[in-house]
C-alpha cells in the first residue's frame, strides 16, 4: 500500500527547487502527509490483514478464520446480514416514497428545501444520541410508550423489543430513510417529463409507464441505493452498542468483544479475522453498488 512514494519520483518534471540542481525534489513536499497516512491508515490496515493470518510466533495460520465458524459468530453474522437486509429494503422503499413525494413537488419550493435541510440536520445524529432519542420516545419511560400504556396498549407485552434486534431495526430506519432520500432523489429528478408524455401519446397508462419506462430506468439506481444502505447498516456500531447491552447480537459488537475481552477471552487475532470478514462483505457490496451506479449514470444524465 506504500506505492504512493514511488511514482512521485519518476513523474516529477517540475522546476528544480534549489538553485540549478536538477534532482527532482518536489516529492519531499508530500512526505509529511504520506508519512502520517502510512502510520495511521496503512499501518492499521496492514495490522488487521497481517494479524488475521499470522499467529503470535509469526507463522502463517488460518486458525483465526476457523474461529469464525463458532456458533455465536455465525449467529451474529447471520443476524447482522438479516438486520442490514431488512433495514436496507424497508429503508429503501420508504425512502423512495419520501423522495418521490418531494420530487413531484415544486423543484424550487419551500417544502423541498426544508426536507433536504432537515435531512442535513438529521445527519448530525450520532449513534449514541440516536439510541437515546428512541429510548426517550418508546423506551419503558418514554412518553409514547406511557401514553399507549394508559390506553391499554402495552407494546412490550411480549418483550422489551426496543433493546433487541427489532428495536435496532427501527432505530436504523431513522438514518436509512434520509440516506435513501438523498441518494435516490437525483435519480428521480433525472426522469424526464417527455418520457411520460411519450408513453401517454402512445396510449400507455400509469401502469405501462411505471412497468416499462420509469421502473426499468430507476431499477439500477434503486438497487444500488439499497446496497449502499446495506453497507451502511452492516458497518454500524455505535447505535447498536448504545442500545443493546446484552448478547452482542451484531457482528461489529463481536469485534469489540474479542478486542476488549469483557465477554469471553481477549483474542486480538480473532478480532482481526472478524474485521476482515466485515471488510470483505462491505467491499463486495460497495463494488456491486458502484457497478450499478455506473449503469444508472449512463441513463440519467
Amino acid at each position: 500500500m506504500t506505492i504512493a512514494g514511488a511514482p512521485a519520483v519518476s513523474t516529477t518534471a517540475g522546476r528544480p527547487l534549489l538553485g540549478g540542481r536538477r534532482l527532482p525534489l518536489d516529492w519531499i513536499g508530500t512526505v509529511p502527509f504520506l508519512a502520517y497516512v502510512a502510520v495511521f491508515l496503512f499501518l492499521p490496515t496492514v495490522i488487521v490483514l497481517g494479524g488475521s493470518v499470522f499467529d503470535a510466533n509469526g507463522s502463517l495460520t488460518l486458525v483465526n478464520f476457523s474461529h469464525l465458524s463458532r456458533v455465536y459468530i455465525v449467529k451474529a453474522t447471520i443476524q447482522t446480514i438479516g438486520l442490514s437486509a431488512f433495514t436496507a429494503v424497508v429503508g429503501a422503499i420508504l425512502g423512495a416514497l419520501v423522495a418521490y413525494a418531494i420530487a413531484v413537488g415544486n423543484p424550487q419550493g419551500l417544502l423541498r428545501r426544508l426536507t433536504l435541510s432537515v435531512s442535513g440536520v438529521l445527519a448530525q445524529f450520532g449513534g449514541v444520541t440516536l439510541a437515546f432519542a428512541f429510548i426517550a420516545t418508546i423506551g419503558p419511560a418514554g412518553f409514547v410508550y406511557l401514553w399507549l400504556a394508559q390506553h391499554h396498549a402495552d407494546i412490550y407485552a411480549r418483550s422489551t423489543w426496543l433493546f433487541e434486534l427489532p428495536g435496532l431495526a427501527l432505530v436504523y430506519l431513522y438514518f436509512q430513510i434520509p440516506l435513501m432520500v438523498l441518494v435516490f432523489l437525483p435519480a428521480l429528478d433525472g426522469i424526464k417529463p417527455q418520457w411520460r408524455e411519450a408513453t401517454e401519446s402512445l396510449g400507455g397508462g400509469t401502469w405501462h409507464y411505471w412497468r416499462y419506462v420509469a421502473g426499468p430506468l430507476l431499477a439500477p439506481a434503486f438497487l444500488g441505493a439499497t446496497l449502499l444502505l446495506f453497507a451502511n447498516s452492516f458497518s454500524a456500531y455505535a447505535t447498536a452498542n448504545a442500545l443493546i447491552n446484552q448478547g452482542q447480537p451484531v457482528i461489529s459488537q463481536q469485534i469489540n468483544g474479542a478486542l476488549s475481552g469483557e465477554v469471553g477471552s481477549f483474542e486480538p487475532g480473532f478480532a482481526k479475522a472478524i474485521a476482515v470478514e466485515m471488510v470483505i462483505i462491505v467491499t463486495l457490496v460497495t463494488v456491486l453498488y458502484s457497478l450499478l451506479q455506473r449503469r444508472t449514470s449512463r441513463w440519467l444524465q
Binding site: 513523474t11 502520517y36 413531484v104 432537515v118 449514541v128 432519542a133 438523498l182 458497518s235 455505535a238
Partner: protein
C-alpha cells in the same frame, strides 16, 4: 418528475396530492417525535413534580462528564488544526508540482470511507498500545485517528475550493513578485479558499464531537462514551447532554450554511456520510 404536473385528469392530481401529504406527514412524525421526546424526557420532574431544568443544571456537577466535554472540545480543535496543516499545503503542492499524483492522493483520502471505523480500530489498538507505553496515553492522542476519519470530507471540501480557483496562475504570479512559499500559501491560497477551509473545519468538529466507536474501543472517555455510560445511571442528565450536543451540532450546521454561499459548497451527502462515520 414534472411529468406528473403535465396536467391530466383532476382525480389523478388529487390522488397525488393525497399521497404526498400522507407520506410527508408520516415521515415528519417519525423523524420529529424522537427529537421532541428527548426534550420532554430531559425536562421531566421526578415522580409527580412539574417540569424542571434540573437535569440540565446538574450537568456541571458530574466531573467525569465535564472532563469528557472538555476533552471532546479539545480533540475537535486539535483534529481540525492538524487536518488543515497536514492536508491543505499537501493538496496545493500536489496541484502545483505533482499533478500526476492527484489520483493517488484522492484514492488515499477517500479510502477511510470504505473501512468501517470498527475495523480501523482493530488495527489502531496495537499502535495506541505502543504509543501509550512509549509516548503518551492522553486522550488527546485520539486526534491522530480522528484526522484519518475526517480525511475524506476535508479532502472533498478542500478539493472543491481549490478547483474553483486557479492555483497555478495565482501562485506563479505571487512567486514572480518575490513571494516565498509560505507567503503564497498563507496570503494567496488560504484567503481564496477560506469558505472551503471553514467547511472542512466544521465537518471535522461535527465528526469529532459525535465520535464514539474509536474512543469506546480504545477505552477513552470522550463525550459520546460518557453520554452512553451516564445513560445507564442517570438517563435524564445523559439525554440532556445528548440534546445539548445535538443543538450544538445544529448551530454548527446553521453557521455552515451561513458561510456556505460561495463556490465549493458543501453537499448534503457529505454531511450524511459524516453521520455514517460517526455511527460506524
Amino acid at each position: 418528475m414534472a411529468a406528473v404536473r403535465g396536467g391530466f385528469q383532476r382525480s389523478k392530481r388529487l390522488k397525488l396530492q393525497v399521497f404526498r401529504t400522507v407520506v410527508l406527514l408520516a415521515a415528519g412524525i417519525f423523524f420529529l417525535v424522537p427529537i421532541g421526546a428527548m426534550f420532554e424526557f430531559s425536562t421531566r420532574g421526578v415522580g409527580d413534580k412539574p417540569r424542571t431544568l434540573e437535569a440540565w443544571q446538574s450537568i456541571g456537577t458530574y466531573p467525569d462528564l465535564v472532563a469528557a466535554i472538555t476533552a471532546s472540545l479539545e480533540l475537535a480543535a486539535i483534529t481540525t488544526i492538524v487536518m488543515l496543516v497536514l492536508l491543505a499545503p499537501t493538496m496545493v503542492w500536489v496541484r502545483l508540482k505533482l499533478p500526476g499524483l492527484s489520483p493517488i492522493m484522492e484514492f488515499v483520502c477517500l479510502l477511510p470511507l470504505t473501512i468501517p471505523a470498527i475495523v480501523l480500530v482493530v488495527g489502531l489498538a496495537p499502535i495506541y498500545n505502543w504509543m501509550g507505553n512509549n509516548f503518551s496515553d492522553s486522550i488527546l492522542t485520539l486526534s491522530f485517528a480522528y484526522v484519518v476519519l475526517v480525511l475524506p470530507y476535508a479532502y472533498r471540501s478542500l478539493e472543491a475550493g481549490l478547483a474553483a480557483i486557479d492555483v497555478k496562475t495565482l501562485s506563479e504570479a505571487a512567486r514572480s513578485l518575490g513571494a516565498g512559499w509560505l507567503t503564497v500559501m498563507w496570503r494567496i491560497i488560504v484567503p481564496n479558499i477560506s469558505s472551503a477551509i471553514l467547511n472542512s473545519a466544521f465537518l471535522s468538529v461535527a465528526l469529532v464531537l459525535g465520535e464514539y466507536t474509536i474512543a469506546n474501543n480504545l477505552l477513552y472517555n470522550n463525550l459520546q462514551v460518557e453520554i452512553a455510560f451516564l445513560g445507564r445511571a442517570n438517563a435524564g442528565v445523559s439525554i440532556a447532554v445528548a440534546v445539548a450536543s445535538l443543538v450544538f451540532a445544529f448551530v454548527i450546521l446553521v453557521l455552515l450554511s451561513f458561510f456556505n454561499r460561495g463556490r465549493g459548497r458543501l453537499q448534503l451527502a457529505d454531511l450524511q456520510q459524516v453521520m455514517r462515520t460517526e455511527r460506524g
